[in-house]
């Protein structure tokens, strides 16, 4: 008897539900189609065991790439790190950036006193002791930031650096700042004071130019020259020049940040 009930009533219902279930799943509006979607996470279960045109092509490009990335472009005397307010690595990078930007403008026939400016947030790795490869520079500067040279009035330039504090500043080159009780007290460019009405070159990256980290917030520019060169490409080329000159990279320690009173 029990079996009979199952067969006569229960099963047909199950049957019917299962039959119309797929239609219920995704029928929508009055469109003539049903859409069923899924996303597939591409983990190692999808690894192909056999060689295919794609795996061959990937291998081909991987080999070419590692040949480029593993090229040793310089030697470094010790591991260089980046930290506030001034560090061996941030000093080196801003110096190289300045050299490039200054030369770029001279080649355009424009000579002005200049400084360079980066942001600590954009320096993502250390420079290793010993061999320095292209890949190391990619790790230090992984972002797609391009070098720009901003022409700026002395008064506006002062505004930028006067906002720095001993605890919160950004890396720069050619400039000396003395902090007194955590506030900028004296700012000079290669020992000379900044004149409000003179024009200066600020070599930096488009990220900062476009408002990144609010470093140039409410700062007026006279004009901007876009070099269209990526920061890391510039760094690679400038570092190669150090090697060509027969030198190795050593930590730069100078007076760009002086903190007073010193205890």
């Amino acid at each position: 008897m029990k079996n009979n009930i199952v067969q006569v009533i229960f099963l047909p219902i199950v049957f019917l539900i299962l039959l119309i279930f797929p239609i219920m799943v995704s029928a929508q509006k009055d469109k003539p189609f049903e859409i069923e979607r899924a996303t597939i996470l591409l983990d190692s279960t999808y690894d192909s065991k056999i060689e295919s045109p794609i795996t061959q092509k990937i291998a081909y490009y991987r080999e070419l790439l590692s040949a480029e990335m593993d090229v040793v472009i310089a030697q470094c005397s010790e591991t260089l790190a980046s930290y506030e307010p001034a560090s061996p690595l941030s000093n080196l990078l801003t110096d190289l950036l300045f050299d490039y930007g200054d030369r770029y403008m001279r080649e355009q026939g424009v000579e002005k006193t200049g400084v360079s400016l980066l942001n600590f947030g954009g320096i993502r790795n250390v420079m290793p002791q010993g061999n320095v490869t292209v890949s190391d520079i990619y790790k230090i500067a992984p972002f797609e930031n391009r070098v720009v040279i901003i022409t700026i009035k002395g008064s506006e330039l002062k505004k930028v650096f006067n906002r720095f504090t001993e605890k919160r500043n950004q890396p720069y080159s050619q400039l000396e700042m003395i902090y007194f009780n955590n506030k900028p007290d004296k700012i000079t460019i290669n020992g000379k004071s900044i004149n409000d009405n003179d024009e200066y070159h600020l070599v930096t990256v488009d990220f900062i130019q476009n408002g990144g980290d609010a470093i140039l917030k409410d700062v007026e520019f006279v004009k901007v020259a876009e070099t269209n060169e990526l920061l890391r490409d510039v760094l690679v080329e400038e570092i190669k020049k150090i090697t060509t000159a027969g030198k190795i990279i050593t930590p730069v320690k100078d007076n760009r940040v002086i903190i007073r009173p010193q205890f």
Binding site: L18, I54, E68
Partner: protein, 272 residues
């Protein structure tokens, strides 16, 4: 007892049979794959993605009887040194091999300028669609079509493309050489045209507008609200995984970043 078992057997397999019926198309889609040719090596990403695995899924789908359409919603360029060293050619070469049929342009496709983009699109064996831009670059304006109509068995599919306003995303030179048109106004013309004039059964928008919840912004959701006759929006740009988003009857899909996943859509004809 035998009756019982047979009935149970039928009850379980009948739905599976009907489920397989009426399947007219499988779409595989990606967006914002950003030159991630090799799997992610990050610890956080746990070794996911990569072209080889994506290719395994596509190849498996090609072996099914159901027609297949592989599409991308833009930003296949930029993100790894592969792009920087090979200028975006490696990505396109391998998208050809994987069997992509249509892609739209993302903002990062313009990273090396319009000349470079046009040069490498010359090597693409798939259609590039973008309906809401005019390009002053002569060759590029021919390479990029507003839409394509594809036929898969007796199914007519209209695929068109949309791209976000590039201002602030690419350099000024590129902005100056392009003219942006409102994506919704463009869609209001192109969708009825594809449906009525081109007699498309299915209309797919490859969108690099992004998905935003805020209705004030032009995005895939405002597009769907304004143009409900689109069947599927394959979106991108905002790197947001949309698991089941239907707005105004429009199915909107999007994956995150760097080709960690591939999306799959099965289309079935409803029985009358």
């Amino acid at each position: 007892m035998t009756h019982y078992k047979i009935l149970l057997f039928i009850a379980f397999f009948c739905p599976l049979l009907t489920f397989g019926q009426g399947k007219v198309l499988t779409i595989l889609h990606t967006n914002d794959t950003h030159s991630q040719i090799e799997p992610w090596s990050d610890k956080k990403m746990k070794n996911v993605g990569g072209y080889a695995r994506r290719d395994s899924v596509i190849r498996a789908a090609k072996e099914n009887e159901t027609p297949l359409l592989v599409v991308d919603a833009g930003d296949f360029s930029q993100g790894t040194p592969y792009f920087n060293f090979f200028g975006g050619y490696a990505e396109i070469e391998m998208m050809n091999l994987m069997g992509y049929e249509v892609a739209t342009l993302g903002n990062h496709e313009f990273d090396n300028g319009v000349d470079a983009l046009s040069r490498r699109l010359q090597t693409a064996q798939f259609h590039i669609v973008c309906a809401n831009y005019e390009f002053k670059h002569k060759k590029l304006s021919k390479q990029v079509k507003p839409y394509v109509v594809l036929k898969k068995d007796d199914l007519k599919i209209g695929v068109y493309g949309l791209l976000v306003d590039l201002r602030g995303l690419v350099d000024q030179k590129t902005i100056d050489s392009t003219t942006y048109k409102d994506p919704i106004a463009v869609s209001k013309e192109i969708v009825p045209f594809l449906r009525n004039k081109k007699k498309c059964d299915l209309i797919i928008c490859l969108s690099h507008l992004g998905f935003e919840d805020n209705p004030k912004w032009v995005s895939d959701s405002t597009l769907a609200l304004a143009v409900g006759d689109i069947d599927i929006v394959v979106g991108g740009h905002t790197h947001r995984l949309l698991e089941d988003k239907v707005v105004n009857g429009v199915q909107i899909v999007q994956l995150e970043y760097g080709g960690m996943r591939i999306g799959k859509i099965d289309i079935r004809r409803k029985r009358k």
